[in-house]
């Protein structure tokens, strides 16, 4: 692993040249996989993640079926080669926890009640990791759900905020995540209702509030990119049916 840099912010610029409130570049590709019901490939800085959604489909084993709605399931997995030190394949304690919080980030927005006894499976594969893989995974999964045609209250958009050199910054890169003072991944709906919130590191109450507000602007930017991706892919079909872009 690289050494801790002496400063994270020099003349208002971060190590990769970004300002404090700037996201890394995001690239979205909708439905790259044809076997899945919905899929999305997303690059976020040097992160590369693939998300696929299957379902609603019959849930096995049957005793896990819910008579009043679909069961949302999520598997977040990092490829063994996605980081410097090889990761042992299979679920780790970290990936089990992340899978759980991601699942819960979507349980509120998916209209599960329309699909009793079924499963909606979200699979997230991190192919190349560089801090912020869970938020990248959420953004991709959100689009994969939409691509699969799953009815939702809206998209979920996610980004991390953190603290480096005593300052609150948007979207931590790897060095900032490894050596910074705090990391707060957040996911929210377009109306700023928080569906995922974690924090580790150390912050004062005021810093935390600033971080939340900054995350709000970050998520709004991400939401716009997600929305654009959907319009590009499905806009023609949608307008042909008489829909408008608003």
């Amino acid at each position: 692993m690289s050494e801790k840099p002496e400063h994270f912010i020099i003349d208002g610029k971060r190590l990769d040249g970004r300002s404090r409130d700037e996201l890394r570049p995001i690239k979205i590709e909708l439905s790259p996989l044809d076997r899945a019901d919905g899929s999305c490939y997303l690059e976020w800085g040097r992160n590369k993640v693939m998300a696929a959604v299957y379902g609603p489909r019959e849930l096995h084993p049957r005793h896990r079926q819910n008579m009043t709605g679909a069961v949302v399931q999520c598997r977040y997995n990092m490829a063994s080669f996605s980081v410097d030190e090889r990761i042992r394949p299979g679920p780790s304690r970290r990936s089990v926890e992340i899978s759980k919080v991601i699942r819960q980030a979507f349980e509120h927005v998916v209209f599960t009640k329309f699909f009793p006894k079924t499963a909606i499976d979200i699979y997230i594969e991190v192919l190349r990791a560089d801090a912020g893989t869970r938020t990248a995974g959420i953004n991709a999964a959100s689009l994969a759900l939409a691509d699969a045609g799953i009815p939702m209250r809206g998209l979920v958009s996610a980004c991390a905020v953190g603290k480096v050199d005593g300052e609150i910054v948007l979207d931590l890169m790897k060095e900032e995540d490894n050596f910074g003072e705090a990391d707060v991944p957040i996911a929210m709906t377009a109306d700023n209702r928080i569906t995922l919130l974690q924090m580790d590191g150390r912050m004062t109450t005021e810093e935390f509030y600033t971080a939340l507000e900054l995350a709000k602007t970050g998520c709004t930017t991400v939401y716009e990119l997600q929305r654009q991706a959907l319009i590009e892919k499905y806009g023609d079909e949608y307008r042909a049916e008489g829909g408008s872009d608003e």
């Binding site: 089990v96 819960q104 705090a182 974690q198 150390r202 109450t205 939340l212 507000e213």
Partner: protein, 262 residues
């Protein structure tokens, strides 16, 4: 938050508790921001290097600490290691089954672990024996004996109470004299549940089952935040989150007074 099991009873229970909330009450008569009775008994197990038995209302758990020399992580060659593990053993609840830890247990352990680690209450650099080769590894094992709800807060209190009484067993390993583990702060995790539009601290088992969402906030003596986790599907607004942070800080400073008595 469990779902699906005993659906009819859960519905009845939910209605009952919801009606109470509308009247500003809880089933056990507590105020929304009131904790159940807390007892902390340290040095409960003499074979452990540090230990604490905690009761929080009906919840009862035992934290045992073992300190052993071992290899540091490659990215922190000069730092000791803390490993927090929680066992939700079948003895503690009819809902628990034997076998490898489920996601719920893993989440609890990781949240408690982050609360302690990120607060930097333990100076890990003081746990280095030979840089890059040998450091002290602190195993914090939490055994839940009775699940009466709010395991996280009880586990957090137990973990730091046990750490405060931990001795580094250097003599046993021919590494000099035994010394007390250097603990600089008392980080505490406080769980708040949202139910019926109200925020409540220290959920009982029944309250925990019907809560739509909960937010765990770990804070330190100076009020700074060192860990947070939202769990459950229902979303929260920024205002709600900030209110919960305030509640957690106040509650933690009350609980911290208990530690002065230990």
């Amino acid at each position: 938050m469990s779902s699906g099991d005993n659906t009819v009873m859960a519905e009845v229970q939910r209605d009952h508790l919801f009606n109470l909330v509308l009247k500003g009450e809880r089933a056990d008569g507590r105020a929304f921001d009131e904790f159940r009775e807390i007892t902390i008994e340290t040095r409960a197990i003499d074979t452990a290097d540090g230990s604490a038995m905690v009761t929080l209302g009906d919840t009862r758990l035992l934290v045992g600490i073992k300190v052993q020399p071992g290899e540091p992580f490659p990215d922190t060659p000069d730092k000791g290691v803390i490993i927090v593990n929680i066992e939700l053993i079948p003895l503690a609840s009819p809902d628990y089954e034997a076998g490898p830890p489920r996601e719920g247990a893993i989440e609890i352990a990781r949240v408690v672990d982050r609360g302690i680690r990120e607060s930097e209450s333990i100076d890990l650099t003081k746990l280095c024996i030979t840089e890059g080769e040998k450091v002290w590894i602190i195993f914090v094992d939490i055994h839940v004996l009775n699940n009466g709800g709010n395991i996280i807060d009880a586990a957090s209190m137990g973990a730091i109470a046990a750490l405060l009484t931990t001795t580094i067993p250097a003599a046993r390993h021919d590494l000099g004299e035994d010394t007390p583990l250097p603990v600089r702060d008392i980080p505490l995790a406080v769980t708040t549940i949202e139910f019926g539009g109200e925020m409540m601290l220290d959920p009982s088992l029944d309250e925990e089952k019907i809560a739509s969402t909960s937010l765990i906030v770990a804070t330190n003596t100076d009020g700074s935040i060192s860990g947070m986790q939202k769990t459950g599907a229902e979303p929260l607004t920024i205002d709600q989150v900030m209110r919960v942070v305030g509640m957690a800080q106040t509650a933690a400073s009350e609980i911290r007074k208990k530690f002065m008595e230990v």
